[in-house]
């Protein structure tokens, strides 16, 4: 064997080693993404496709309530298309991070090896968020064109691209949702993944403004209190979807002065909780 030439002492500074380790971790994730790209595209597209198919094709065909008239359907399509992009970004966070991490912490124990990388432990979690965010951006890029075209005849989404918002809000939303994925993946045991879907993912999805703009929720009141419009402000997906509305349409949306800081706030909050959880799970 000529395998040995032992390094008795660290040869690189912690910073240099960490930078290389981060690059290595992301390179690994992107390699896996490349290898499984077909699978990635399928799982990314199935939900947006079904949403568009049911709401923008089947409903208008059978004259169902959601936008019964053709004009109403077009208005709804304009609302739904950015919502579908937003929800896809969120699901990327859940799938590429929360599910993967639950598995790696659970039965494969792969995380055991990953945290031996010569860098601080938090950087391992950050690398997950970064590669998860990249997957979110790719998901948004492939979902948007599909969402914009899968409609019944006569139904068209009025799309309008606001590039400044697209290049800032899409990555920001991806980081926030990937960080949410980190929180979920480090909070739920693998055997409780069903709970996570039932009690976290579904409420976020249905009350996240995918099928309706936040600005339209005002009529839901008890007495004079716009309770639903107020309550869903706790839901990070609201800001993602409103942001996508601002980026991809001319439809009314929540003010950008609100969307940007709140998304930055959620990203920071989720990232700090997620990193703390991650550290707790790894160290004893």
């Amino acid at each position: 064997m000529t395998t040995l030439r032992i390094e008795a002492h660290p040869t690189r500074s912690a910073t240099t080693a960490s930078r290389a380790a981060l690059a290595g971790l992301i390179l690994r994730d992107l390699t896996v993404l490349k290898k499984t790209f077909g699978e990635f595209v399928l799982r990314t597209l199935i939900q947006p496709f079904l949403l568009c198919f049911v709401f923008l094709y089947v409903f208008p065909k059978i004259g169902q309530a959601v936008g019964g008239s053709s004009a109403g359907a077009t208005g709804f399509a304009t609302i739904l298309v950015p919502g579908v992009v937003g929800i896809s970004i969120m699901f990327q966070g859940v799938q590429s991070i929360a599910l993967a991490m639950a598995q790696e912490f659970g039965f494969t124990r792969e995380i055991e090896d990953r945290v031996q990388a010569p860098c601080p432990i938090w950087l391992v979690a950050v690398s997950k968020v970064l590669s998860g965010s990249v997957q979110g951006v790719i998901a948004a890029a492939i979902v948007f064109p599909i969402a914009a075209v899968v409609h019944a005849a006569g139904v068209t989404a009025t799309v309008s691209l606001h590039w400044l918002e697209i290049v800032t809000l899409v990555p920001l939303a991806c980081v926030a949702m990937a960080s949410l994925g980190l929180v979920l993946g480090t909070s739920f045991e693998p055997r409780n993944i069903g709970l996570m879907f039932g009690f976290v993912v579904l409420p976020i999805t249905f009350l996240g403004g995918t099928y309706y703009p936040w600005t339209h929720l005002a009529p839901v009141t008890i007495g004079h209190v716009h309770w639903l419009q107020t309550l869903v402000l706790l839901n990070p997906l609201i800001y993602v979807n409103e942001g996508m509305r601002a980026a991809f349409t001319d439809a009314p949306h929540m003010h950008l002065y609100v969307i940007y800081p709140v998304l930055v706030g959620f990203a920071t909050l989720f990232l700090s909780i997620g990193l703390r959880n991650f550290r707790r799970r790894v160290l004893s």
Binding site: L4, E7, P10, R28, E112, D113, Q116, A117, S284
Partner: protein, 316 residues
């Protein structure tokens, strides 16, 4: 100190919610180039000790240094010089056998070309070249273990840690792994392993620390530990009853008896001087009126040492 790869001083770990420390004021020195074993039953504190040295467990008190670096203050630097093989299979399921090695190199800051060359070289060395493109799911337990060792030494660590490396391996794979570790050690690799197989510690280790309840009870070469029992032969006698009576008769009349122990229907006697031991034992038993069902003679093992130190068996 200069030649010590690992030093611990008063190392203590009390897990949250536990009153008893898992590791209690541990002072250890592991020398460069040796195979060092932490031997003990489950809960002895050996995995916790290894966990602290590999930066996964944060000690409650005391210090630990790997290659002269404080593991609490500079965990990331310690990881640069540590290679770790954990108990479970932690191979990356989404990568091939070759990629598992290649990306390890990238993780440790090696360039693409160097990582490729080293991955090829290690697959060759560990007889896994045939499997380079296979999924890690295709590997048997023994092969997965080999790949994990190859991955752990990829970045040429100052110390290779193995946590219960052969737990769950078939006997053949266990022997193969022992051979591999011995070979690596011949080339200068320092190895620290935890095990509860006394045979493994005996075969593989230059020095063994016997642990129980977070303490090191004895630390020496396997031979010196065995010599410390004062006996050169272990006599095991099976009887149908009257074990206690036989034990006291043997202690009195056999000569050279270091200690006796009765567990159920088995009497274990540690003896110095093995001359005509079997017939003499039968004579003593007959005079005492105890019927001998079975009789075996063996050399002292680390198990003997452990029993002498703790009064209990190590168990496999």
């Amino acid at each position: 100190m200069a030649d010590d790869v690992i030093v611990t001083e008063g190392l203590t770990k009390v897990y949250e919610g536990m009153d008893v420390p898992a590791v209690d004021h541990l002072d250890l020195e592991v020398r460069a180039g040796e195979v060092f074993g932490l031997l003990g039953p489950n809960g002895a504190g050996k995995t916790t000790t290894a966990g602290i040295l590999t930066t996964r467990v944060v000690p409650t008190a005391g210090r630990a240094y790997v290659a002269g670096i404080d593991v609490v203050r500079h965990p990331a630097l310690v990881k640069q010089v540590s290679g770790i093989v954990s108990q479970q299979n932690t191979l990356d399921r989404q990568l091939t056998v070759w990629e598992n090695l290649y990306f390890h190199g990238r993780l440790f800051g090696m360039g693409g070309r160097d990582s490729r060359a080293r991955a090829d070289e290690l697959l060759e060395t560990f007889s896994l070249s045939k499997w380079a493109k296979a999924s890690v799911y295709a590997l048997s337990g023994g092969m997965a273990q080999r790949l994990m060792v190859a991955r752990a030494i990829f970045h040429r660590p100052a110390v290779l840690f193995l946590d219960e490396p052969t737990a769950g391996l078939d006997p053949q794979s266990r022997l193969a792994l022992w051979g591999m570790l011995a070979e690596l050690n011949r080339e200068g690799q320092t190895v620290v392993l935890t095990t509860h197989y006394m045979e493994e510690a005996d075969q593989l280790c230059d020095r063994v620390a016997i642990m129980d309840h977070g303490h090191v009870l004895a630390l020496d070469t396997p031979d010196a530990l065995k010599r410390s029992t004062g006996a050169d032969t272990i006599l095991t006698v099976k009887v149908d009853r009257d074990g206690e009576r036989l034990a006291s008769a043997l202690a009195r009349d056999l000569g050279g008896v270091v200690s006796t122990r009765v567990a159920g229907d088995v009497v274990t006697v540690q003896v110095r001087g093995a001359e005509r031991l079997v017939p003499r034992t039968v004579d003593v038993a007959e005079s005492a009126g105890v019927a001998v069902l079975d009789l075996a003679v063996a050399e002292p093992s680390l198990e003997t040492v452990f029993i002498n130190l703790t009064g209990k068996e190590l168990r496999e």
